[in-house]
Symmetry: C2
Subunit: 604 residues, 2 copies
């Protein structure tokens, strides 16, 4: 086998139906064309899983993919992604997670793990360098993520890293995720349910190898340059390290775009009670940084005897203002139970918000609650208890565990679900931030902020200030942000580095480790290729471009109070411009010319 | 019992001879007069331990003291101190540590633990809220700090916090410390040997209480103000978070004051190989922050299968340039073994440097090494192996475990020990930084940088730039830094906050929590009181002011190369000015007037 740099050169293929384990050599052409992680994983999905496949059938595959920079000394180089067909959205799913598991998988010698088929009984995969075993998992089935992780540390030594589903994934909740390192999550799009459908409880990894570097002197220089930029940037050098992602609570609220009461309002007068500043003052126990992260935004909080990682900004918003809740202690508890049951915090919290609106409007009746806390705005106990009931799939909680769209649809009012392509939108009201709305509408995995974080230019003025109420130029900016992000995901670094680093910086790091010779423009263009491949997968899956939209509320009902009063999202203006910027037809279909240009002619 | 704020109101007194455990009410007058921690601990030592006591006899006491802000939501509020009479220096010892143990002790309900007497057999103290037990420790005697901590987590649950000695403390090494939370150390002045002399292996703590706050609204404001300053300061907001304390390696070397080869030189041409930047690039696994720390300078590194907390700047310097070593992997290993055996990294590394000079000059012969790695400059293997031999007290290692002064003295050349009052000096050459030399010479616990970190104004230009080669004004600055630091230690916060925070900020935090009404000036003046009390203890112990000096090399031999070439330390100029600034006699004795002014008349 050739000597690899950055990549380890090996894909691990595990068939749970046949109980077979194969080690295949990485196709380096594919790797270089799609970089790795999200890009390479989507290419494998496209090659191997028919887009029409039922996401929870044994024909779907679950792909754990690292980037070439995962497990290296690059800043934040510890990420992995889970690529599969989503049971929540029906689109391609790609959920990205930090912590330590991804780097450990690289150290064990693998770039990618492909899980195929379905086991009859609960199993887990135990990877220890060259040794790979499929083992009985009945002793941890039904256990929470924390309990499961502790059990594997007991069984295999405390140095193992564990990625596991909780009871929510076992119950096939469409808003369940995969939890690694106790409190990090590949959270979105129901990837936990896919794992549960295969009766795979966990992947336990221990690796003692290293990742080869092509040019150590070049890496040293690229590393120093990137580190200096991260250190000197206000967001990565000050805001995030000091207050975590929750530093955004007050900032977003002051702009009048902090969705409140299921997006019925956009300003929360008790925002400061749930801010990063208050979190730091009252609940923070320590920082909880990921592998080799110079930013260290991760928090570790404690309240009333419960302690664990998080909460992140979006979680605080979801269980907080979006449910009218100002009790930060309750939010920390709800976050804790999401991590334990393996629920996505954004979808879980916004589904409770949707349930609260259904209750407010009389669709859900008091008797439907079966004695559980009342679903009224501001009920702190409700967000904690209903999170547990979703995790346990009990009573109405079982229906809610399918996500807000299916919940609202079951009452005949799907428009009350604040989702795109059935996935819940995060914590930024698109009525007061035009670009983020376009990004939500066009994201290839449904409602999502981390496909193209337009908050960066529209609110944080990075890399430059854009008028958040204007539509001009937002299509082009959104495209660039989406492409750039796809490449950052693919390479295995954290999106937060992009507040400080530019395309050339990523290219320099990638080139020094892998021996490639990409320019910054090349790097972003690969993101364009990944984006179009994801779009093709979705089109083949039957996702119509008419789904590139936002909930009617955001297009038609102006914000009624606060600093963004009077605004709606003008998607009808930006969407056609976006299709054009993408080089797609006016109906949102990639042209043959565009696909050829991107080297995607095989997938036309 | 009255309702306490900040303080918990209880001192735990444990007599190991009698096997008695008493809970005494805190004397609040003493607490307010000396704040807590270092101040209150020294007051108790003065009251209860005759300064002439043999430090390793059962008459000495070991005092674990928290500050009123320990365990609160103030930035870095997690520190504790160990106060005792030092077996290394014969002076008062006060070693300060971070991590989580100190906060846990507060949560258990105690401000201070006083250990008296001596157990016949190895024991440990197990504190779980109200329950306190003296238990048999024979099952962990002889074990390293990491092994011991793991054993107690196994025995008492993973939430316990453990402060323990390693084999070095058991062996009564005069450079042994106490290790808490696996990789944090109350390291200096041989406090581990005092613990070992009492046959006390560890104090295991679990606490579930809280610390009362007097004025929550005032705390919120004071907290926000301090956090903003920490975030916006270049050192606490950028340098330390990104590269840890090792960010100093290149800075100090570029000023030509990085002691090399046991202070024979002051510039190390391979400094970048052991810099914080290289550490981050090649060995950093994650950040490893202390309780509630917004700075997060702590590192966690891995090399060749060894991983753990650190190394800090002084450790890197000590095992690195001061031994001529440029192999960062070896430094990480030596640091690891210091933490495991419970050795102070500064004294351990500089004792190896002294041994290398003794070997260079023929005092130590090759046959004395008994086959262990040769003590020659730059021998990476030697720093690792001799650390282990000191930890195990094997061969020449047993003699080295007494510290560099006793080692060099045994060969008739005590002047080769780079120490003050027999304690090894840290990583800044006083010939090129006049103020730090004065601070070393006058530090109440011997050679030490954290009694008054003059590097801040003389190198980092904080709070303002001082000419490092000048002597003018250094006496007054040194006094202020010493006093200010004593108060910060006493209150229970980390010295690193003082790069960003001023006296008023600490007073505001203290007042809001304790309900006191101190001004910033009052706060610093309490430091003056603490400093003078320590001085009185040392004088009564028989430490003559003639020991307020530096090794002859630093006073007489000019630096021979690099940016500080030609300079010596001018202590003969600054010391008389310092005595005067302190209001002491020209012989360095506190006057009666001064003591009365400070409310120390009882100790004249």
């Amino acid at each position: 086998m050739q000597n690899y740099f950055g990549y380890q050169g090996t894909i691990l293929r595990v068939n749970l139906t046949e109980k077979t384990i194969k080690k295949e050599e990485l196709n380096l052409d594919d790797a270089l064309k799609f970089i790795g992680g999200r890009g390479l994983g989507t290419k494998i999905l496209m090659d191997e899983v028919d887009p029409k496949t039922d996401a929870l059938s044994s024909e779907n595959k679950l792909i754990f993919a690292t980037g070439p920079l995962t497990g290296t000394s690059t800043p934040t180089g510890g990420r992995y992604m889970v690529i599969t067909k989503s049971p929540l959205t029906g689109t391609v799913a790609c959920s990205n997670s930090g912590g330590y598991w991804g780097a450990e998988l690289k150290f064990a010698g693998y770039d990618v793990v492909i899980i195929e088929g379905k086991s009859e009984k609960p199993v887990y995969l135990n990877i220890s360098d060259d040794s790979v075993e499929i083992n009985d998992a009945s002793f941890v089935w039904g256990k929470t993520a924390g309990e499961t992780t502790a059990a594997f540390e007991e069984a295999h030594g405390e140095k193992v890293r564990v990625a596991t589903i909780g009871p929510a994934g076992e119950n096939l909740s469409k808003i369940s995720g995969i939890i690694n390192d106790r409190g990090r999550a590949a959270g979105r799009s129901g990837v936990g349910a896919v794992m549960g459908s295969k009766n795979l409880k966990a992947i336990v990894v221990r690796g003692t190898g290293k990742v080869n570097v092509n040019d150590a002197a070049m890496l040293k220089e690229a590393f120093s340059k990137s580190m200096a930029k991260i250190r000197e940037n206000g967001v990565t050098g000050q805001g995030l390290p000091t207050y975590g992602s929750a530093v955004l609570v007050n900032i977003i609220n002051e702009n009048g775009v902090l969705p409140t009461n299921n997006f019925q309002e956009s300003y929360f007068d008790k925002a400061d009670d749930i801010s990063g500043e208050t979190l730091a003052e009252k609940f923070l126990k320590k920082k909880d940084p990921c592998f080799r992260c110079p930013i260290g935004c991760g928090r570790y909080c404690e309240t009333d005897g419960i302690e664990g990682s998080g909460p992140e900004y979006e979680t605080i918003w979801g269980f907080g203002s979006n449910c009218g809740v100002s009790d930060l202690s309750a939010i920390i508890k709800a976050n804790y139970w999401c991590n334990e049951y393996g629920l996505d915090t954004i979808s879980a919290s916004t589904t409770i918000a949707a349930a609260m609106e259904l209750y407010q409007k009389g669709y859900i009746k008091k008797e439907d609650l079966e004695g559980a806390p009342e679903l009224v705005w501001g009920n702190a106990e409700a967000v904690v208890e209903w999170t547990k009931l979703m995790g346990q799939a009990k009573g109405l909680g079982a229906k809610m565990a399918e996500g807000s769209y299916r919940l609202c649809e079951s009452y005949g009012v799907p428009e009350l679900s604040m989702s795109v392509k059935k996935q819940e939108m995060p914590a930024y009201d698109p009525r007061g931030i035009q670009g983020i709305g376009l990004n939500y509408a066009t994201s290839n995995r449904g409602g999502c902020h981390v496909r193209g974080y337009m908050i960066s230019p529209e609110i944080l003025n990075l890399p430059q200030e854009l008028d958040r109420f204007a539509t001009d130029g937002k299509a082009e900016w959104t495209k660039i942000f989406q492409d750039f992000t796809a490449s950052i995901d693919a390479v295995g670094l954290c999106l937060f580095t992009s507040f400080a680093m530019g395309a050339d910086d990523y290219a320099d790091l990638y080139n020094s480790i892998c021996g490639t010779k990409l320019t910054g423009n090349d790097f972003v263009e690969i993101g364009d290729r990944i984006w179009n491949l994801e779009r093709l997968y979705n089109l083949k899956a039957g996702i119509d471009p008419s789904e590139d939209t936002l909930p009617k509320r955001l297009l038609e009902e102006p914000i009624s109070s606060g600093p963004s009063t009077g605004h709606v999202n003008k998607l009808s203006v930006t969407l056609p411009e976006y299709y054009k910027a993408r080089g797609w037809t006016e109906k949102g279909i990639p042209t043959e010319e565009k696909l050829t240009l991107l080297g995607l002619e095989a997938f036309k």
